[in-house]
Amino acid sequence: MKPPPFQYYDPATVADAVGLLSRLENAKVLAGGQSLMPMLNMRYVLPDHIIDLNKIAALSYLREENGALVAGAMTRQRDLEFSDVVKSRYPLLHEAIMNVGHRQTRNRGTVGGSLCHLDPSAEIPTVAAAVDATVTVTGPKGNRDIPFAEFPAGFMSPAIDADELVVGVRFPAWPKGHGYGFVEFARRHGDFAITSAAALLEEDSNGKIKRVSLTIGGVTIAPVRMRNVEKALVGQIASEAVFKDACEECRKIDKAIADVHAPADYRQHLATVMSRRALVAAHNRIGGRA
């Protein structure tokens, strides 16, 4: 299998990359290559131009800023995996990253690439939905911030213009000692998840739920926040039974995907199970108790 012929560009600055994007027709942006390269090898995509971002050093950074983790679009998944800050302050993201492919793919795969490819079961977009991340894009008219809830425009399609480029993402932190859980169901380790769930949890000293975030990946075209479950849980005393009851709501997820891997009702069923497991894990980890 060989990629189809294309013209290759490797700009050194974001401005040059945006210039190329606005000028060229049928261009594709190459980040870590862990999704685009297989698609090229199999000729699922036939771009006339490839704009490689790997020379743009300014897009690779990871820092904490105003209570959030800020990552550049070309920051490797590996950098999140081995970051002490991510591990201690953004443990949901760390747990999710350990489910992204394998060491060999995380060494190359990027944060921005995963967000833009927007596979329905990809882990980084699921965490972005869970923490209400903000995606920063840049284009000929300058920068703009997109709340992650408005980022997916459709199946594997981010809501950005053809001449715009994702440059970074901001993951807001949850308070110290919050509970977290990321679980997924895949047929084999490292495979795309059929269904995943991400949970974040804050409880008061009596075990009453103060704040909760629950996101399901892999069931709909983009990760979906389970607002009804979150609403039902706030104010309740956390327990497995309470979580189980509330998660039944996941069976009603609208427009569940049906494909060769699983029918829609199976995905909805998995969503109830994965969400309960994620919430139980989050509860067990509150205050660092697990």
């Binding site: 299998m1 060989k2 290559g33 490839i50 190359r108 490292g190």
Partner: protein, 164 residues
């Protein structure tokens, strides 16, 4: 803009200055243009792990990179693991002694993957080894021999204690 580009890449310590088609994958470039056929191509879409190389010391799928992206970088392939033509690396010796290979197709990727893994984690558990090679498919061994070889190699690679 041309369909080819001049690149300069160091593979197993040797520098290559080559003109390469921009759409060529790194794996095809090494195998077909340089004759370095030790790196194997199984699936060519990033699933089987046979083409794993070390790119600036980090494991990567060479079927998921373009050759032009290797310009100015250092690569290690299976051909560069042994210290000399008549001596195997301790990891290779451990594979030979533990039935870590049968047909040998997956072995180049297993070795490069484990070389990185054992460098970062010199004293792994069996579970950690299994996760480390989870991105490499083997259809012969059932993995047990490979896991044994990796654990054995970890012992062999430990600094030798002075005899009392």
């Amino acid at each position: 803009m041309s369909k080819t580009r001049k690149i300069s890449v160091t593979i197993n310590g040797k520098r290559y200055d080559e003109e390469v088609e921009v759409r060529y994958t790194l794996a095809d470039f090494m195998r077909q243009q340089l004759g370095l056929t030790g790196t194997h191509l199984g699936c060519e879409h990033g699933v089987c792990g046979a083409c794993t190389i070390l790119f600036d010391g980090l494991s990567a799928r060479s079927c998921l990179m373009l050759a032009v992206q290797a310009d100015g970088h250092e690569i290690l392939t299976v051909e560069g693991i042994a210290p000399s033509p008549d001596k195997l690396h301790p990891l290779q010796e451990a594979f030979r002694d533990n039935h870590g290979l049968q047909c040998g197709f997956c072995t180049p990727g297993m070795l490069t993957t484990l070389l990185e893994f054992l460098r970062d984690n010199p004293d792994p558990t069996e579970q950690e080894v299994r996760i480390a090679i989870s991105g490499n498919l083997c259809r012969c061994t059932g993995y047990q021999g490979i896991v044994d070889a990796a654990l054995d190699a970890a012992q062999r690679l430990k600094p030798q204690k002075e005899a009392p």
